[in-house]
């Protein structure tokens, strides 16, 4: 038997305070299950930002449109990996597709994921890039010209009528895409919110809280990437774009904060059987990750900064600095949110009589290094995407923007 596991569990046993059921000594959903909702949240959020341009016609945000879509794709490709690695039998995962249990929220993941990847993201990206792919396939040298030609599925038509059709298609896909993005992340919230055995998770607000925090983290990520990539490309950061996005970010954070506050007050007011153990959980085990990182650093400080930027007249450079700090703090905060949900929900006993501890492995499949690898991988994929499919605006888009 796995000696390492036994040693770790024996260590956990020493950390237990009060009484927990014997099978609760092992924390079953580890750091990888924290990474998974974090990544899917980024996907959904980045997509929602992209759809602002298409559906709501927010022209200022145009410079981040392609970047947001590519970011969503890069993260979506990695999204199922943490779940897969966490399984006891990863090679049986195809069973989810072959013998699905329609009543299981988790079984539906595969279908929602495939729908989102194939019917929404890839399709929208294809229509968005089709014209460029045709142009690049004529300009580039071997082998890139062949890659572009294959990716465009050998289409050659870049007549005005064809491009107009592309635009129309993108609009329709985005319209379907927004509810799909909501579904993708709302359902992740549902996976936790529907577990009635666990009072920390069981809440009808959970899908909404997940959704809003997803939008917050996704927008913040695209802002971060835009601020890093634009100077690297030798283009200046478009301040009009940045001001507008962070304004959306500000409102998203407020809605997110309100929902989480509502959830908190509701629990406190109802004061159910679990209230005592949950208050011990948040004041003891989750003090740093909940109060300090998630709420103070991840929400209140960014909100304060954004209010200051909105009300005081800072110059562009100072605004950039503030925005950059804000989006990094927000990422930290949202990661802590996922941690507090996933790990927090397993730190107390369902007997409501005791608490346990989670000690993260460093090496090993479910360890810190694997988690960091999974968090870095999407950035590498994105770098490759940006190399092959430059996200710079086309001349056409620039014209449209200036007109």
């Amino acid at each position: 038997m796995n000696r390492e596991l036994l040693e770790r569990l024996a260590e956990h046993l020493n950390e237990v305070t009060g009484f927990i059921y014997p099978n609760e000594v092992e924390i079953h959903w580890s750091i990888l299950v924290v990474v998974y909702p974090y990544i899917t949240g980024l996907v959904a959020g980045a997509f929602i930002l992209a759809s602002l341009v298409q559906v709501f016609n927010v022209k200022e945000v145009q410079p981040t449109y392609r970047l947001a879509l590519l970011t969503a794709l890069a993260f979506l490709i990695i999204a199922p990996l943490p779940l897969l690695l966490h399984l006891g039998h990863p090679f049986r995962s195809y069973e989810i597709f072959l013998t699905p249990q329609p009543k299981s929220a988790m079984a539906m993941f595969g279908f929602v994921y495939l729908w989102y990847l194939m019917a929404v993201l890839l399709l929208e990206l294809w229509f968005e890039y089709r014209k460029d792919l045709v142009v690049w396939s004529n300009e580039a040298i071997f082998p890139m010209n062949w890659i572009y030609r294959t990716l465009s599925f050998f289409s050659t038509d870049i007549s005005e009528r064809a491009v107009a059709f592309d635009h129309k298609a993108i609009k329709i896909i985005t319209l379907i895409g927004i509810p799909s993005a909501f579904l993708l992340h709302g359902y992740v919230g549902f996976i936790f919110g529907s577990v009635k055995a666990n009072p920390w998770w069981s809440s009808v607000l959970m899908p909404l809280v997940f959704l809003m925090s997803a939008i917050v983290s996704g927008i913040a990520l695209v802002v971060f990437l835009y601020m890093v990539i634009a100077p690297l490309r030798g283009e200046g950061v478009d301040m009009r774009c940045l001001d507008r996005i962070t304004s959306f970010l500000f409102y998203a954070v407020i809605v997110d904060f309100t929902l989480e506050g509502l959830d908190f007050i509701h629990r406190l007011y109802q004061s159910e059987e679990s209230i005592k153990i949950l208050s011990r959980l948040v004041t003891d085990k989750l003090f740093i990750s909940l109060w300090v990182i998630q709420i103070f650093l991840g929400m209140l400080v960014p909100l304060g900064i954004m209010i200051a930027v909105k009300s005081l007249n800072f110059n562009a450079e100072l605004r950039r600095l503030f925005y950059f700090t804000t989006v990094i703090l927000i990422q930290l905060g949202i990661f802590a949110t996922r941690w507090n949900v996933v790990i927090g929900g397993q730190l107390f006993s369902k007997s409501f009589r005791g608490l346990t501890t989670y000690k993260m492995e460093v090496v090993g499949i479910e360890g810190l290094i694997a988690a960091l690898g999974l968090l870095i991988a999407p950035f590498i994929i994105l770098a490759v995407f940006l190399k092959i499919f430059p996200a710079s605006e086309t001349a056409e888009a620039k014209e449209a923007l200036s007109s």
């Binding site: 046993l13 006891g88 013998t99 577990v195 055995a197 929900g345």
Partner: protein, 249 residues
């Protein structure tokens, strides 16, 4: 010649069709557990007579031996909790396994209001949350009222472990699949008793068929004040506790 569009359309049907095909192949191979045994005629449950349990832990030992459960205290299909309710209102709960080798306790008899043992196991719920959440149907309810895990299909996602309100499931460290009490299904279909019931020296565990009026369990349910664990969750357990204390969760 088949064109590309038609081919893709037909290929889409392959996915659910393959699933159905596999399903029927699996069902086709399923054999009755024992010759002459008809699950439709049975509905199993267990009674726990709190007043009779002496906390000897033989049930836990028997279960581990019978069902190849790891000996370590972190993995178990059944366990026994010891409750000590003191005069000042405080409650102490312990798993008797973790009490082994403990000496020098300071509790004096004068402080104790009452003390008792509570054996715990899978409640074989009528509405099992574990079955609901399993993404691949690996955990399922049988016709005779037992919740089982197909270890050949379980993918080890552990959603069922999270969904069980009673902490009755664990991940078997060798098979890497979810595991739990089966009422010793391999024994009961042959007319034998579950291992824990068989070894209990005080008959604190009462196993029986809820469909048979003559069963000891039906008599136990008639004559005792019966409680089930966490009734508010509406899982409708089939493990019935006689004279259960309100402190037990």
């Amino acid at each position: 010649m088949i064109d590309r569009r038609k081919f893709l359309k037909k290929a889409i049907w392959f996915i659910p069709a393959a699933g159905l095909f596999r399903h029927f192949v699996k069902e086709g191979h399923a054999k009755p557990a024992t010759e002459g045994y008809d699950p439709a005629n049975h509905l199993y449950g267990m009674g726990i007579d709190i007043d009779k349990c002496i906390g000897c832990g033989r049930c836990v030992e028997a279960c581990k031996t019978e069902n190849n459960v790891p000996k370590e205290p972190f993995f178990t299909r059944t366990w026994v909790e010891r409750y000590t309710i003191k005069k000042d209102g405080s409650v102490e709960v312990e798993n008797i396994e973790s009490r082994k080798g403990k000496v020098g306790e300071k509790t004096t008899e004068a402080d104790v209001l009452r003390s008792f043992f509570v054996p715990k196991l899978c409640n074989q719920c009528e509405h099992p949350p574990c079955v609901q959440v399993c993404p691949v149907n690996a955990t399922f309810s049988t016709e005779d009222g037992v919740v089982l895990v197909d270890s050949k299909r379980c993918i080890g996602c552990r959603y069922c472990i999270q969904a069980c309100p009673y902490g009755a499931r664990y991940l078997h460290p060798e098979t890497r699949t979810a595991d739990k009490c089966t009422f010793c299904y391999h024994r009961i279909v042959k007319g034998l008793l579950p291992a824990c019931v068989e070894v209990c020296p005080t008959q604190a565990r009462i196993f029986g068929d809820l469909r048979s009026m003559a069963s000891r369990l039906v008599r136990f349910k008639r004559t005792k004040r019966i409680h089930v664990l966490k009734a508010h969750l509406n899982t409708e357990p089939k493990v019935y506790y006689g004279n259960l204390d309100g402190e037990v969760r």
